[in-house]
Amino acid sequence: MGDRGTAREAAPLLALRSLSKFFSDDFALRDVSLELRAGEVHVLVGQNGSGKSALMKAICGIFRRDGGDILLDGESVDFASVNEARLAGVVMQHQNAQLFDNLSVAENVFFGRVPRRQLGARTLDKYKLHEDCERLFTRLGIAISPEDLVSRLGYTQRLVVSAAQTCVAVAKAVVFDEPTAGMADPEREILFKIVREIRDRGVGIFYISHKLDEIGKIADRVTVLHGGRIAASLPDGSVGREDLIRMMTGGTCTERYPRLRVEYGPQVLSVEHLRSGSVLQDVSFTLRKGEVLGITGLMGSGRTRLANCLFGQARPSGGLVRVDGVRAEFRHPSEALRRGIALIPEDRDNNASFHNQDIVQNISVAALDRFLGSYGLDTRYMEELTDEYISSLGILPGHPSDIMRSYSGGNQQKVVVARWFMSLCKIFIMDEPTRGIDAAARIDIYNAMNDLVTKGASIILISSDIEEILGMCDRILVLAGGRIACDLPRSEATSEKILDYASA
């Protein structure tokens, strides 16, 4: 501790002075001043959308700032690209491992710094490379063979390999963005070893985390962000978990969510002890007619896997699902659809849009049997009905022959919503339906949800936006580590409670 104490007194390695960056009326970085010293782990916490990742991206050259200054070793810097930042010694470690699939583990770890043979100037010294990598892995306790191809690795192994790169890179400052999301305890321990190793070498580390227990394990300093501003910046150990959570939630606005409440009908879905691989451990809940059930949790908590299991897109490895009291085992989404279950997926771009097809086809694709007559497809009815959906959901610009890819994210999302409306489903699973779309489209989606429940459908709303969950749901489940950490009626739920359960 002694030598690290002196590191704290030294001049900052990286200093942000009144940094600002405007994104939208809803989201901006405002007047952020922050320092990072050499040899310290500075943990950033805050809710989704509080500006943690945006701030780090502004440091690493992904965004240019609008105002303020960034000083590296006392010199003002303004990186135009990630590469420029890396050459200056500021390295960003992304949430998703960015690796070369067709190279070996060792080649990835030492990429750009591979040892060369003395003779034959351009040849790679594979022997030394593997030996160096083996030595590094042994020290860190990583049980992966350096010679394996990266394409053979599983998801968490890739995260570990990607993190190990930082031990080799020459950097002054490293930014980790939620590095342990999706990791189990053994991998987390490895990651902490990596962080401690580079810290002890004198590297300054920004560490974004959602898991508050990590603060006690590695943090020298903690900064809480809320609404694009710094809510507090404190040395580790000076603040309790409850105070942190209170600072993270600030004053949340849950009053602006339009929500119509209806009387519930009978139970339409029951899930008992559902398991899937290592992601879902034990999930049980029920859903009633007319209910909006909120499910939230951190990245890697199993939210999306749960949605995929209910929609027949992933296979559960155990447990029981009942739809209207009848056992349901879906092998394919079409079977779920036949039982009235729809999924609006998280990744709209890759999983839900036919980019080059027109709006009629995008909306009607899941409901074609409604238009099937004895003479084939009744295309006129199809077009007219599509037109009704376009106007009632406020899809803009809204000409039936428009091509999907020309639409904004919000309007594409409404098209996807319209598709499941038209297929007359009864249970709508919406996975992050409003992520990345503008406020006007959000309003339309929320009102479409009202339309559903007032007409007897039920909704499972999966969202990492706690404000939205509190504003729109009747009951809230928090997932943590593939289990239900709590099941709260809206009247008892607060953002503090949810964060507390989610980060336990």
Binding site: D25, D26, C253, E255, R256, Y257, P258, R259, L260, V262, D378, Y381, E384, L385, E388, Y389, S391, S392, L393, G394, L396, A418, F421, M422, L424, C425, K426, D438, A439, A440, R442, I443, D444, N447, A448, N450, D451, L452, T454, K455, G456, A457
Partner: protein, 263 residues
Amino acid sequence: MFAVERINILKSYLRERGKLDVHSMSELLSVSEVTVRRDLEKLESEGFLTRMHGGAIIKGDDEAGAAPDPGPEFAKEEEDREEIARVAFLMVEDDDVLMLTNGPIAFRLARKLAGRANVTVLTNDIQVALEVAGQAGNHAVLLGGSPDPESRALFGSLAQANVQAFFVNKIFVEVDGIGEQLQLTVSSQEKAALIKEALACAEDKIVLCEASRFARNAFFRLGPLSLARKVVTNTSVPEAFKARIFAMDIQLFTSVNAFEGGD
């Protein structure tokens, strides 16, 4: 079946029963609802019937064919009002004590209240009061004051003093314009004065306004939109308003009526 046959069937059905709904007609004729709606639209343009939400009613015998065509603008306005009333109705629960300030949407909402039990409605709108008074199990209280023949409602100092004697758990205020700066406006000074008084005597404050009346101002200023917690309008309200109202922490309900499933 040819369109001519279909239209004849629809006409005779209407002559017999006076009204029809689109859903059962589409089943009866084995055609899509869109087709039935289109037929109804044609008959409406001929002045034979009036389209309602989900169906149509025949025009009076003496009127049929003779009534002047009210034009598509008018039909759209009627539909918008009906849709707003539908959403507002979903906010009303049994045993509620409501205030409805005068206007065409308020009247439509009042008609729907027959679907709730033990609702008490305080209003300055004569037609609203009569409608609710005729509903079994619901109660109406009409404010006193000076009648305005055009709006068929009561205003003035007596009405304002009357309002202060009550406390309602929900108030539905029908406004005539919501301007660019989100200021609420109405068509008369007396109406503005009454609504201001009434808002002070209510817990949950809900503004009703057609989408076509956004970005427009009526003559008398009522105050900022933030006087209310909720606004009900149509889906076609301009996007800029949706974003601005959301940012102001006010609930914006739009009359999305897309889902055909359910009961």
